[in-house]
């Protein structure tokens, strides 16, 4: 009697366990909704997103969009677990340098076949460059361009009689260096200026240094025997040392700023403790508009031209996971979401350049007000970074490049040691990704 009971119990338990551990047998049905994971976080941008989604839902009651507000800090973990479990959203917002990795792992649908020609034709070539894989497939629809600019304090410029450069006659690094010196104020001559000519947020140094390097002619990466690797040549060292000299010899870039993130340098700009923000994203303008006092007049500088004015294309994107069951509708929604009118609203509320050619040519993005014309001008200068689509780039950036740049810029190693360690450690990290 008792043993039978136990037997029954064990049997039931076994069946239960088997059904539980059967890997991936239950398909998740999320119905006819299009799940859209968004990264909007500023008040204005959030409102824009929500109103566009509401508009879609009114027009497409049979295929409503569920708006999911995620955030930049946890989207990565959210997506990785989604891809691994197969429980994916239908559309998600992220950025080009990262989704290229997802595409390599086969997590994303190729958008080339999903988007209409009409839509594709109107997106600027620079933007497409940032999302194209080696095989020509497209990992996402680029809609905001994250380009870098120099923002300056107009009051300080006027006070020193400095006239900002023009499109025809841009500054080179030497000129910028001179200006930064002229803007620096150290009235008691103690070597600790009360006001610095500029600040440069080098916390995520690899990203910004590689980008600023392109225009200088410094490229860090080289192709050897069909293999990309890091080679530090004399131009690279010259470029890095030049920035170091501005910091430590001229003392016209704030040394504290070097340890900060880009956004971290904005408050001291607002307080007038530095006169220029070098290598800051165009989105920083939003912080200035919202948080700077009325008296602070600021502008965007025409990009520095050493060899050229190029920088690496990097965009914010909307992508469709390969496992989405609503790919076609998702693509339709993306095109609706990024219609000319909507993209203009999105670009304005996030303070980044739109990717539609028709918008870039329109007056609202050609106006000199808030530096829009300069931001638009840069769009033509965007090229593909040599490091894009390089397997292991993410690890290289956080394990090798950022730490070594940081150490180099805090004057803790010689250029010889820097070259040696950079090349050695890069080789080590990239070798992990070769099979």
């Amino acid at each position: 009697m008792k043993s039978k009971k136990i037997f029954c119990f064990v049997k039931r338990l076994l069946i239960f366990l088997l059904s539980v551990f059967a890997y991936g047998c239950a398909e998740n049905e999320r119905g006819d909704k299009i799940v859209f994971v968004s990264l909007a976080w500023q008040e204005q941008s959030l409102a824009t997103h929500k109103s566009i989604v509401a508009e879609w839902n009114e027009l497409h009651a049979d295929k409503p969009v569920e708006y999911v507000q995620s955030n930049w800090n946890s989207i990565h973990d959210y997506l990785i677990t989604s891809f691994e479990t197969g429980d994916v959203p239908d559309v998600f917002h992220y950025e080009s340098s990262i989704i290229v990795d997802f595409a390599l792992r086969g997590n994303l649908a190729n958008m080339d076949t999903l988007l209409s020609d009409e839509f594709k034709r109107d997106i600027h070539e620079s933007a497409w460059k940032s999302v194209k894989s080696a095989d020509g497939s497209i990992s996402g629809a680029p809609f905001l361009l994250e380009s870098m600019v120099v923002i300056y304090n107009q009051n300080h410029f006027r006070e020193r009689g400095i006239v900002p450069p023009t499109f025809e006659e841009p500054w080179d690094w030497n000129k910028l260096r001179e200006i930064a010196k002229a803007l620096t104020i150290d009235s008691n001559k103690d070597g600790w200026p009360e006001r610095y000519g500029a600040s440069i947020g080098l916390r995520s140094s690899a990203n910004i240094l590689l980008n600023l390097g392109i225009g200088y002619g410094s490229d860090f990466f080289e192709n050897k025997n069909n293999e990309r690797g890091v080679v530090i040549d004399s131009v690279d060292i010259q470029y890095l040392n030049m920035i170091k000299e501005i910091i430590f010899e001229d003392k016209s870039i704030s040394p504290t700023s070097v340890t900060q993130s880009g956004p971290g340098t904005i408050p001291s700009f607002i307080n007038g403790k530095n006169s220029m923000l070098i290598g800051i994203g165009t989105w920083a303008r939003q912080q200035l508009v919202e948080n700077a006092p009325q008296e602070l007049e600021w502008g965007v500088l025409v990009p520095i031209k050493e060899k050229n004015q190029n920088q690496a294309a990097n965009s914010q994107t909307l992508s469709i996971p390969a496992k989405s069951k609503n790919k076609k509708d998702a693509a339709k929604f993306i095109e609706f979401f990024l219609s000319k009118e909507n993209m203009a609203k999105l670009a304005k509320s996030d303070w980044m350049s739109p990717t539609r050619i028709s918008l870039l040519q329109s007056d609202q993005f050609q106006t000199p007000q808030y530096g829009w014309a300069i931001c638009t001008y840069i769009v033509d200068k965007l090229i593909v970074g040599k490091w894009l689509t390089l397997p292991g780039y993410a690890e290289w950036k956080s394990r090798v490049a950022n730490p070594l740049f940081q150490e180099y810029f805090s004057n803790r190693m010689s250029s010889k040691e820097f070259k040696l360690r950079m090349e050695e450690e890069s080789k080590y990290v990239f070798s992990r990704y070769k099979r």
Binding site: A26, W41, N71, I270, E290
Partner: protein, 276 residues
């Protein structure tokens, strides 16, 4: 004279401790009443120059934090009740019987506390989905029950050990069943430990981020810590003012619960963890 000196220095010491522990909260309280322009101005006054309730307004109406707070509350309550109910008989049996199961459970307690949670997320998710428990507050509660169990079991069996076996024997002789023994005799004696365990489970659920992020897909079901993360943005930026306001709102409920149960709690924690 000497005593007076000792008393004074003791008070000063205690005040220093309190300042250290409570100052961050005061700081955030002050931030929560500042406009974003004042926060950016770089002068950290403890008393805001122009106090504003805008941040609180934005937290309650734009982000609807009440919804995620109520979700967190539900999950906290379910998991604290759940973990207590299943750990009472379990800890009892771990004390009264000595088998290889005890050793197995000890091993599990250690490994589960140390192994990185991120790496078990995917298999856990698969299992929960097969059970239909993803995107569900119950599913999340069950996960929290399992994740607080190691610590709770460790504590609870300490209490059980402290209960004289004669009490049970007397009840059994009077004809009580084992279930009655556990719930009528043992449980009342375990109350302080139960309170402590429940509080521990509640706080753990209230604070947990990663499981909640991955398991909850619907907007209506997210919990408080996940909601709070929404005030952060690109490249480490954050909407500081609203975030500060939300932090204050999020901390207060657990502080209130703490102050209610703290007496039970102080006596509860220790006998479980220590008595052999």
């Amino acid at each position: 004279m000497k005593n007076l000196f000792f008393g004074a220095s003791k008070n000063i010491l205690l005040i220093l401790y309190l300042l250290f522990l409570a100052f961050p909260l005061l700081w955030v309280l002050s931030l929560s009443f500042k406009s974003s322009m004042e926060i950016y101005s770089g002068i950290p006054n403890l008393i805001p120059l122009a106090p504003t309730t805008q941040n609180y307004y934005s937290v309650f109406f734009d982000q609807n934090i009440l919804k995620s707070m109520s979700n967190s509350f539900i999950v906290g309550i379910i998991s604290s009740i759940g973990v207590v109910l299943i750990s009472i008989p379990a800890s009892y049996s771990l004390v009264r019987y000595k088998t290889y199961l005890n050793k197995g459970i000890l091993g599990w307690i250690l490994v589960s506390q140390i192994f990185p949670v991120i790496l078990i997320m995917v298999p856990l998710y698969m299992i929960l989905r097969n059970l239909g428990l993803t995107d569900s507050l119950y599913g999340l509660s069950i996960v929290y029950i399992v994740w607080t169990l190691p610590f709770v079991l460790w504590m609870m069996q300490g209490y059980v050990k402290a209960i004289p076996i004669e009490l049970e024997e007397a009840a059994l002789i009077d004809g009580a069943s084992r279930r009655q023994v556990i719930f009528k005799v043992i449980m009342p004696l375990l109350l302080p430990g139960i309170a402590a365990s429940a509080l521990f489970a509640f706080i753990t659920a209230w604070n947990e981020f990663f499981f909640a992020l991955v398991l909850m897909k619907s907007q209506d079901l997210i919990t408080l810590p996940v909601d709070l993360a929404r005030f952060t943005g690109m490249e480490g930026q954050a909407r500081t003012g609203p975030l500060a306001a939300a932090s204050i709102i999020a901390t207060i409920p657990s502080l209130i619960i703490f102050s209610i149960i703290q007496k039970w709690f102080t006596s509860g924690l220790v006998s479980g963890a220590v008595k052999e």
